[in-house]
């Protein structure tokens, strides 16, 4: 007789912990063939707010770390992901119905993307900042800083898509609340397990699973969120409504890009969209 396997309970990932939704709700997630994979937690408005509180609390510490240190932490996520690659390949094959080769390609690319972004941590300032030769006796320097707490609607690509929107936001010092792909949410929670064991401080990345239509408006209108990434939004009306809500406190908004080919090398504006430029002046004199 074959052994009865121990199945995993998929919960949310908030503040470094894995709580169930405070609402007590869950929803059925099927695999690509329509068979039950698991019940995912269905996050509520209050879960979203808790996630924002966690992200805000983590922002000062994370943005205050040296760029070198953030690079090492994100590189560490890549290391741990590489070590668990078989689990991710299996999940991608089951949930997205892709071939073994395709699943391997996505996991390879996800690991490589983390390594790519890790390397940016201590270079983006040099590439996007500069000294300004003002017409007067002043030292004048412009440097980029993270915008703050970023809410992200992740695209469908359960692993590579998610990493491609989360890594650029956090590498520069932002903290993130991400709504995982509604159709393929489980891999995002498994990825949360990787992040939780990679020295990433609790609250830097918070993962919600559930209905984008239900949760996203609360994040879009939340006055303690500084940026909104709508990459994964597929409905144009929904995207417009979320962008309108985001105007209440002038969030930096990234408009939808659901058809992005995540295997291509990304543009820098995934990082720069959620960065601010600070310019400091000081007189030169004796």
């Amino acid at each position: 007789m074959s052994r009865i396997d121990v199945r995993k309970t998929y919960k949310l990932y908030i503040n470094g912990q894995f709580p169930r939704s405070e609402s007590g709700r869950s929803y059925v997630v099927n695999d690509a063939k329509g068979r039950l994979m698991a019940n995912a937690a269905q996050a509520s408005r209050k879960d979203a707010r808790d996630a924002v509180v966690a992200a805000r609390a983590a922002f000062g510490g994370w943005s205050g770390r040296t760029a070198y240190n953030r690079a090492q932490v994100v590189y560490r996520i890549a290391e741990v992901l590489e070590g668990r690659r078989e689990q991710f390949e299996a999940e991608l094959r089951a949930s997205e119905g892709v071939s073994a080769a395709k699943a391997r390609t996505y996991v390879d690319a996800a690991v490589d993307r983390l390594v790519w972004y890790a390397g940016w941590a201590d270079k983006i300032t040099q590439v996007t900042g500069n000294a300004n030769p003002v017409a007067g006796p002043y030292f004048n320097l412009s440097t980029p800083e993270p915008s703050g707490v970023i809410a992200v609607v992740a695209p469908r690509g359960a692993l590579l898509g998610l990493i491609s929107v989360v890594a650029p936001a956090i590498i520069t010092g932002n903290t993130v609340v991400v709504i995982a792909s509604e159709q393929n949410p489980l891999t995002a929670i498994t990825l949360g397990e990787v992040m939780a064991t990679s020295d990433l401080p609790g609250g830097v990345v918070n993962v919600l699973t559930g209905s984008v239509a239900e949760i996203a408006p609360w994040l879009a209108s939340h006055m303690d969120v500084n940026g909104l990434d709508l990459t994964g939004v597929t409905d144009a009306d929904q995207a417009r409504e979320l962008e309108v809500a985001a105007a209440d406190n002038l969030k930096r908004v990234r408009r939808p890009a659901p058809d992005t080919d995540w295997l291509l090398e990304p543009a820098l504006d995934r990082m720069t969209r959620f960065m601010e430029t600070k310019t400091v002046w000081h007189p030169i004199g004796v």
């Binding site: 300004n132 017409a135 105007a247 504006d269």
Partner: protein
């Protein structure tokens, strides 16, 4: 104490020639437009200066069409080096006609001639000169060299021609064409700029100036053939613009309100700090989005700073903007004066202590004496809301962390000031202040090479410097992302 009496030293108005009425500048020509008209007045005297056309939706549409034609047929095809030469020409003509522009600016806006003559207009010319040089070097900017198309630009009344330069110079350098709306209370220098475009033989339609108020602005923002919206003004209108462009492909930069903290530590060079505080809040009558309107002074020197500050404020000369001795000119409009009075009254009603510099204000025109409030708490509206006038709110702090916390306790994040003799403290404060511009041991400095813009509800995007190019170029063409 004996006082000096100043003889009046008025700058001559003879250098400007204000027409009785102005049309719209569309496709290289002044046209009547199909809308109504409004009057622009001298806020120092309430004298009507001219009748100005109010652009209707149809007029805005004509302007956008002219800009699109000029973009498609001329400007986007011209090499950067040739575009540069037009911008250099404009910079030179602004220098040549600098006195005329300065006097006209002071008459229409109410700002002291010494500011329009020594700050506004020279920086305008410098801005065009700076961005002219970028036009054929965009490939080196880090943002590519692909223009967006037609830019709709809406500017405020506090630095009329300077804000025009901040908008038009980078737009044109990057290969865009523009439709610009000056503020309804200060249209005259923008209309003189239109003449300068004619003198420079700028191709018709590259720059279009449409005058009007909020409705005209809305028509520009919502026009479907506008690719880029650039706005400087209130946070309230900025939010309305952000809502209006939601779901479109329009690129937007917003430079909005502020409530900057100007932080004075006990080891600060106090003589310079007092000058910096005065410059921070009374420059341009406090009509400055980055004004240092919240003074945070360390408790141990608060009494001394206040005593010196009041002594200095009492020497400020308030009056005729065209007098070369004037430090503080006229409030720009009756509406703005009412707002300043209302918030100042609220400051008193909420329990803060009000002190105004003793000065004789002219009987005609709009005036407000330089004013400081002490005993202000973070809950007071005068510590939270932008007054946009010569009114300073003073709060105290004990530790650097308390100063940072109070400074950042605002939805705005445009600018901040730090005064201390300790270098490491300057850098630490500069790191922790959530603001787009930090002036350390100085304040209210501007330069074409230096990016300007805010965090949080002070808007997004930068104007000035290399960073200022980003808002006028398609920056997302590399890699996988759109």
């Amino acid at each position: 104490m004996s006082t000096f009496d100043y003889a009046p030293a008025p700058e001559s108005r003879a250098v400007v020639d204000i027409k009785p009425s102005y049309g719209l500048f569309i496709n290289g020509e002044f046209v009547d437009g199909s809308g109504t008209s409004f009057k622009t007045i001298n806020p120092a005297t309430e004298e009507v200066l001219a009748e100005v056309a109010e652009a209707s939706d149809a007029d805005v549409d004509e302007a956008v069409k002219a800009a699109r034609r000029a973009y498609t047929r001329v400007w986007s095809k011209m090499s950067g080096a040739e575009r540069a030469k037009y911008l250099y020409r404009i910079a030179r003509i602004i220098q040549e006609r600098g006195r005329e522009l300065a006097v006209l600016e002071s008459i229409d806006n109410g700002k002291p001639i010494k500011e329009s003559r020594d700050v506004d207009i020279p920086v305008v010319a410098a801005h065009f000169f700076y961005y002219a040089g970028w036009a054929d070097k965009l490939e080196h900017s880090g943002y590519g060299s692909t223009p967006l198309g037609v830019a709709g630009q809406i500017i405020p009344w506090n630095f009329p021609l300077l804000m025009l330069a901040w908008k038009i110079a980078p737009a044109l350098a990057c290969g865009n064409t523009v439709v610009l709306k000056p503020a309804e209370t200060t249209p005259l220098t923008a209309l003189l700029f239109a003449e300068i475009c004619q003198q420079a033989d700028l191709p018709p339609g590259v720059v279009n100036i449409v005058t009007g108020a909020g409705e005209t602005g809305r028509a520009i923002v919502s026009h479907p053939d506008v690719d880029k919206v650039a706005f400087t003004g209130s946070t309230e209108v900025g939010k309305a613009i952000a809502r209006s462009v939601a779901g479109t492909d329009k690129k937007v930069t917003l430079e909005l309100g502020g409530k900057a903290a100007n932080i004075v530590f006990d080891d600060a060079p106090l003589d310079q700090a007092i000058e910096g505080i005065v410059n921070g809040i009374f420059f341009n009558q406090g009509h400055v989005c980055c004004a240092g309107s919240r003074l945070l002074v360390q408790e141990s020197v608060a009494d001394e700073v206040m005593e010196r500050l009041k002594r200095r404020m009492a020497t400020l000369r308030v009056g005729d903007p065209l007098d070369k001795n004037t430090d503080v000119g006229a409030i720009n409009s009756a509406e703005q004066l009412a707002k300043i009075r209302e918030l100042s009254q609220i400051g008193e009603d909420e329990g803060a202590e009000r002190w105004s510099a003793p000065c004789d204000l002219p009987s005609n025109g709009y005036w407000f004496a330089p004013t400081v409030f002490t005993g202000v708490t973070q809950a007071h509206r005068i510590a939270r809301e932008e007054i946009f006038g010569p009114v300073l709110s003073v709060l105290t702090f004990r530790t650097p962390s308390e100063a940072v916390e109070k400074a950042n306790n605002t939805p705005f994040g445009l600018s901040a000031g730090v005064w201390t003799d300790k270098g490491s403290r300057i850098l630490s404060m500069a790191n922790r202040l959530r603001a787009g511009v930090v002036w350390a041991n100085t304040f209210n400095k501007f330069d074409p090479t230096s990016p300007f813009g805010g965090y949080k509800e002070s808007g997004y995007g930068r104007e000035g410097g290399r960073h200022g190019l980003e808002g006028y170029l398609k920056t997302n063409e590399m890699g996988a992302d759109s």
